[in-house]
């Protein structure tokens, strides 16, 4: 068992004088290791509190760089680290907070090819990611390695926290949700927004569970799902059960090696990252092309499928109508299928769905403005606000 030196003893004194924790708990923390998948909203408080608490080895996995819009909630990063890798940014802050611990950074995306190798050296896995493919991947890999997976997820004002640990008799993520929603049905934080303090609360609850798992004190959330609603400031607890027929952790598992998680979540390879590839389809148009069309006498009809409060932040110079994408199917009759029409949103995702829906309803003269107002701000009007 790891020994503490005098500097560590004074640093951790408030832990050491907790009778339930004591020297033994602190040494277990020093001996312990945790892999944080995602160094963003949830990963920030997790990394800060686990480093401060003295977890001996913290691994950080993230491929993203710090952006100004992250700082509303991602408190491990700072204005001085905008533009640098999140893993490196976090490592600097954590080293400053606690020089006695080891930090390993992995500036990469976790994939089916590397997940098992990334996780293998660590005692506890923490899921602080922001998308369904990575959540299913993290779950399956942790189950296969028999490691606890401390799960947290957030949306707008609401959070969910639990510990998945089939090796200890508990359920896994697939027992809770056997299959993910089809892409586009559930908005992401980037689309739906998130209250900045929410990941602080949820990530800190996850950090608490990590400390309990490593030290063995208290009662973990295995088999219990905690729901938190920031607006009503209410916590609730639901029972989670292991599904004996679960394809990953059940009695006769059918998934015994990692699969293609993008495909499992219904994401087509061309849809995910190579938006440009689809540009040759007749139903897409770039912001620059739209800008040119707007200057012609017979300009097309411009449809915004965002919410009204988004239009108040940034909007194209001309918008003929705003119909939020979720209302489109019952308001289609407000649109004329005979006129040339361009549909836009913030990043091009919702407008693509809208164009698909309108095409299915018989509209043929419609185009999706690829990249949305974000790309318009980059390529046409640099004074437009990006949100």
């Amino acid at each position: 068992m790891a020994m503490l030196n005098n500097a560590e003893i004074s640093r951790y004194s408030r832990h050491l004088i907790l009778p339930e924790f004591g020297m033994e708990g602190q040494r277990k923390l020093k001996q312990g290791s945790v892999l944080l998948i995602g160094t963003g909203g949830l990963g920030s408080p997790l990394a800060l509190y686990l480093a401060a608490a003295g977890v001996g080895h913290i691994g950080l996995v993230d491929f993203d760089v710090v952006d100004e819009s992250n700082l509303q909630r991602q408190i491990v990063h700072g204005t001085s680290t905008i533009g640098i890798a999140k893993t490196e940014s976090a490592k600097r802050r954590l080293h400053d907070l606690n020089p006695h611990i080891e930090i390993t950074t992995y500036e990469t995306q976790i994939t089916a090819a590397n997940a098992l190798d990334l996780m293998r050296p660590y005692d506890v896995i923490v899921d602080g990611t922001d998308n369904f493919p990575t959540r299913y991947l993290t779950n399956d890999a942790a189950v296969m390695l028999g490691k606890p997976n401390v799960y947290g997820s957030i949306f707008r004002f609401e959070g969910q926290v639990t510990v998945f640990h089939p090796a200890a008799g508990g359920p896994c993520y697939r027992c809770l949700y056997p299959a993910p929603p089809p892409p586009g049905l559930v908005p992401s934080c980037a689309e739906g927004g998130v209250l900045g303090v929410l990941p602080g609360i949820v990530g800190t609850m996850q950090a608490t569970e990590v400390i309990k798992l490593i030290t063995g004190i208290g009662e973990t959330l295995i088999g219990r799902l905690v729901l938190y609603d920031a607006l009503s400031m209410r916590f609730r607890e639901l029972k989670l059960r292991r599904n004996p027929d679960c394809p990953v952790c059940g009695n006769n598992p059918t998934i015994t090696e990692l699969i293609d998680y993008e495909a499992f979540c219904g994401i087509m390879p061309t849809q995910s990252k190579t938006q440009e590839k689809a540009m040759n389809t007749p139903f897409e148009i770039t912001p620059k092309e739209v800008a040119m069309l707007l200057e012609q006498p017979n300009r097309p009809f411009i449809l915004d499928v965002r919410n009204q409060y988004e239009a108040e932040i940034a909007t194209l110079p001309v918008t003929d109508k705003l119909i939020p994408v979720d209302e489109l199917h019952r308001r289609i009759n407000e649109l004329d299928p005979q006129v040339e029409m361009i549909v836009y949103c913030r990043s091009g995702g919702r407008s693509a769905r809208a164009v698909e829906m309108l095409r299915a309803a018989g509209f043929t003269k419609i185009k999706n403005m690829v990249g949305g107002t974000l790309r318009w701000a980059d390529e046409v009007d640099q004074t437009m606000a990006k949100y």
């Binding site: 995602g38 160094t39 963003g40 909203g41 949830l42 990963g43 993230d62 993203d64 899921d127 602080g128 990611t129 922001d130 998308n131 369904f132 959540r135 947290g152 997820s153 957030i154 949306f155 707008r156 004002f157 609401e158 969910q160 809770l176 949700y177 056997p178 299959a179 993910p180 929603p181 049905l185 559930v186 908005p187 992401s188 934080c189 980037a190 739906g192 998130v194 990941p199 949820v202 799902l225 729901l227 609603d229 607006l231 009503s232 609730r236 607890e237 639901l238 029972k239 989670l240 059960r241 979720d326 209302e327 019952r330």
Partner: protein
């Protein structure tokens, strides 16, 4: 039988921003269909076309998952709390 149904943030845009509603229903299935009658846009988010509850939507009566009760036929008692708990994935970005 008046029961309360709680609507998660992710679905409130389809219920005119109602966080919870009080409805009359004797089973979970009837409750959900009553809710959809009031808020038709919610339908596609709760049920597949074949009428099966979607696999990323869980429904709880009290603190128990209806999959471990009688599913949509689970009977409801007066004053019970039914919760819709969809999968949410946010956290990093």
């Amino acid at each position: 039988m008046a029961v309360t149904i709680s609507i998660p943030t992710a679905l409130r845009q389809y219920t005119a921003n109602n966080a919870s509603m009080s409805l009359e229903a004797d089973t979970v299935g009837n409750l959900l269909h009553g809710l959809i009658e009031l808020h038709p846009d919610l339908g596609q988010h709760l049920f597949e076309e074949q009428g099966k509850l979607r696999s990323f939507v869980n429904v709880y009566v009290g603190d128990e998952d209806i999959r471990y009760l009688d599913g949509l036929d689970t009977p409801l008692k007066d004053g019970e709390l039914v919760s819709i708990i969809p999968a949410i994935a946010g956290g990093q970005g």
